[in-house]
């Protein structure tokens, strides 16, 4: 196997070190994602953008029935603005939130995005988002037209990061036929009404009329109704393990213990659609789903009943945000501002997605008043809406603490008090970590 060749001049130490040095130089050119410097607030730019054609990337988590509604709004915008082309990408929410930071850091992410209200702090603290205070001031958007709670919660550390598109709250759905034939037409209003309705349905032959899944949104709703909260308003102390928390979670477990709901439920919509259950606690995302997949079912939707001693309901909101990438030059920044302003003002097609528009001017349209979710858009609901506070890393903390506790208690038979005590301990440790890293 030995091929005899004339050996070339042997390499000297100098050539070898030279090679080594040049490759080290190459390696040093590798990009890295680190903590960027804090973002400059987006500057307000006068009027709508005109000029060289701009191509903007728009990411959103609308992969369900709400995707086509948003696509229609983007198409309308593109048609009305020949100088701007907005390219929309819908990603599963988890994937979007995983990708957005490195993508924006590398300049290949979105210029504009829709984020859930509770995610603003996470990405503001990581310098993915730019403050919008100057922009909203210049545009004359001062919250007057918006649901106050949704508008006020878009602020983190004194700077505004989101412009609400909509809001959505925990709701009750009921099968009108089943409740009418049991002699208790809906909606259920309070704890007594709930008990009576369930008893009437059960004696009418529906053994398990209300299936309880490990829904943390239901837990947050009940937590507020029993007078508790997840964290203190400053986001420094976890309070989910309070007496109110235990009462809220115990109520959910009780429904299973008393046989109102079977155990191990992960999908409560299917039994509701096929008539095995007659009551459903779900978000407005269920509206387009029910319309599409259960066209024969007669159902209504109303605000979630007041089970605890005071009113309260879980709420969240989709928000427009601008990323650092949108500020790469004056034209891109101006075009991005134009898009957010225009779509926010022309958000009527969004009603088809099942959510409640955040702007009063859109809620006053006939189109919204005749939609099912109009029943959820009452001043009473807006006043008691419990939004999640702005805490960086809130979803990680939530997943490891109260969401996990709800799952363990509802599916795993763990004692609610024990599950929540551990959740509170975990959330506190993670809050402390985050607050330490924020400096």
């Amino acid at each position: 196997m030995s091929a005899r060749r004339r050996p070339a001049t042997p390499a000297s130490r100098r050539t070898f070190l030279g090679l080594l040095g040049s490759s080290a130089l190459l390696a040093a050119c590798a990009p890295s994602i680190g903590a960027g410097t804090a973002q400059e607030p987006a500057r307000y730019r006068e009027g709508e953008y005109t000029g060289p054609r701009q191509r903007l990337q728009f990411w959103n988590p609308f992969t369900g029935g709400d995707g086509p509604a948003m696509a229609a709004m983007v198409d309308a915008f593109n048609a009305a603005h020949p100088d701007i082309e907005v390219v929309m990408t819908s990603l599963v929410a988890d994937d979007m939130y995983t990708k957005v930071m490195p993508a924006v850091g590398a300049g290949v992410g979105p210029d504009i995005a829709i984020m859930h209200l509770d995610q603003l702090a996470t990405f503001a603290a990581r310098n993915t988002l730019v403050p919008l205070d100057e922009v909203v001031e210049g545009l004359g958007v001062d919250g007057e037209d918006f649901v106050p709670a949704a508008w006020d919660n878009g602020v983190y550390r004194g700077a505004r990061y989101g412009i609400p598109l909509d809001l959505f709250t925990m709701a009750q759905y009921w099968s009108t036929d089943a409740l009418a034939s049991a002699g208790t037409p809906g909606p259920v209003l309070d704890a007594r009404g709930y008990t009576e309705t369930v008893a009437a349905l059960q004696s009418n032959g529906l053994a398990q009329p209300f299936w309880v899944p490990p829904s943390w949104q239901l837990f947050v709703t009940l937590l507020a109704q029993f007078g508790g909260r997840l964290y203190n308003p400053e986001g420094t102390v976890a309070e989910m393990g309070s007496e109110a928390g235990v009462q809220a979670l115990s109520w959910m477990v009780e429904q299973i213990d008393r046989g109102v709901s079977p155990g191990g439920v992960t999908d409560p919509r299917t039994p509701f659609k096929n008539g095995t259950a007659a009551l459903l606690a779900d978000l407005p995302a269920a509206i387009p789903d029910l319309q599409l997949t259960a066209p024969d079912l007669e159902w209504r939707v109303a605000p979630f009943p007041q089970i605890g001693p005071q009113p309260g309901v879980f709420a969240n909101s989709h928000n427009f945000v601008l990323t650092g990438q949108s500020q790469r030059d004056a034209d891109a920044a101006h075009a991005s501002q134009t898009f957010v302003d225009w779509v926010s003002r022309n958000s009527a097609p969004w009603i088809a997605g099942g959510n409640t528009p955040a702007r009063a001017s859109v809620r006053e349209t006939e189109e919204f008043r005749s939609s099912p979710q109009a029943a959820l858009a009452t001043e009473g609901v807006f006043e008691v809406a419990a939004f999640l506070p702005q805490i960086p890393g809130s979803r990680e903390i939530a997943g490891n603490s109260f969401q996990r506790a709800v799952g363990e208690a509802v599916l795993g038979g763990v004692d609610p008090a024990a599950a929540l005590a551990f959740a509170q301990e975990t959330a506190q440790a993670e809050l402390d970590d985050v607050n330490e890293l924020l400096g």
Partner: protein, 311 residues
């Protein structure tokens, strides 16, 4: 041959030009350098950065990255936080999968290789056939098996006439993952065994047959000792590959039921990539890596003790 000729060569060169040494150590290093550079950039630097990261409390993008020494490790080993509980649950899932799949992936391909080693019509076709799934990516086989195993629509339940939730219950979930992995990678180990079998001298088998050894005796006395080195390699890489399983559980069972089929790698990815927690996920990676190194060490030592026909 080689040794002699090169000695002659260097002697003759030394006679004419005594200052040029053919065997300068820098020459060897220069030829190794391209690989060394790649190895450094893609293995040593990342591993070193991961060790470095694991010693910090580091959430991607947040300004503070304080040095915490071994605190990330201590937290994981203490097992009292949610993260440590979930991590060890992932390690257990990885362990279960490895314990179920590795023995099958070591033994079945050997049997298959011995079959494919025999002479029969269409031998090359079958060799290619069994290797074919290996060329598919994990995304392809993941989607394929998820469809095949779907409870309502999947052909598996329909053909067998049963109603098993292959992807959402245990132990059916583990069966699904192991069978899919077996189907996917059986060809790779078979090819390696096949190459090893072709290196076992035929005369040994003939001599043994003449001496009256039956098939089983020939297998234990000639085949196994003849391929010990390759067997050791297969055992080691199969354990490592099984322990690094991620794509199958992400795609086929989607970590269901609950997160029971989420492997260690799955949880590391979730913590680091989705949760931005670089410090803790690096510490988890280190624990997994050291565990695999120890396992590989045990395999090597075990085979050394067994012996084999080493020179």
């Amino acid at each position: 041959m080689t040794a002699v000729s090169s000695t002659e060569l260097s002697r003759s060169r030394r006679d004419s030009k005594p200052r040029l040494r053919r065997s300068s150590p820098w020459t060897a290093l220069a030829f190794l350098a391209p690989f060394l550079v790649i190895f450094t950039v893609f293995v040593i630097v990342p591993v070193a950065s991961a060790v470095w990261a694991s010693l910090h409390r580091w959430s991607l993008g947040l300004p503070g990255t304080p040095w915490v020494g071994g605190a990330n490790y201590a937290e994981l080993f203490a097992g009292s936080t949610v993260m440590s509980v979930e991590f060890w649950k992932g390690m257990k899932a990885t362990g279960i999968f490895t314990a179920l799949s590795a023995p099958l992936l070591i033994t079945l391909p050997l049997g298959l290789a011995m079959l494919l080693h025999r002479r029969f019509p269409g031998r090359t076709f079958f060799r290619a056939l069994y290797f074919a799934p290996y060329v598919l990516g994990v995304a392809v086989i993941g989607l394929l098996w998820r469809y095949l195993l779907d409870r309502q629509l999947g052909p598996v339940n329909q053909i067998l006439g049963i109603d098993v939730a292959w992807t959402t219950t245990l132990p059916a979930g583990w069966v699904s993952l192991v069978v899919a992995t077996l189907w996917w990678t059986i060809g790779f180990n078979s090819v390696i065994y096949l190459a090893a079998l072709q290196d076992v001298p035929k005369e040994l088998y003939e001599a043994a047959t003449v001496d009256g050894a039956g098939p089983l005796r020939r297998f234990t006395a000639i085949t196994v000792p003849g391929i010990t080195r390759v067997l050791q390699f297969v055992v080691a890489i199969t354990i490592i590959a099984s322990a690094n399983m991620y794509g199958q559980s992400a795609l086929i069972t989607q970590e269901q039921p609950g997160s029971d089929t989420r492997t260690a790698i799955g949880y590391i990815a979730e913590t680091g990539i989705q949760g931005f927690d670089i410090g803790a996920s690096s510490a988890m990676s280190m624990i997994l890596a050291v565990t695999l190194m120890l396992l590989s060490g045990i395999v090597v030592l075990g085979f050394r003790k067994l012996g084999g026909n080493d020179r």
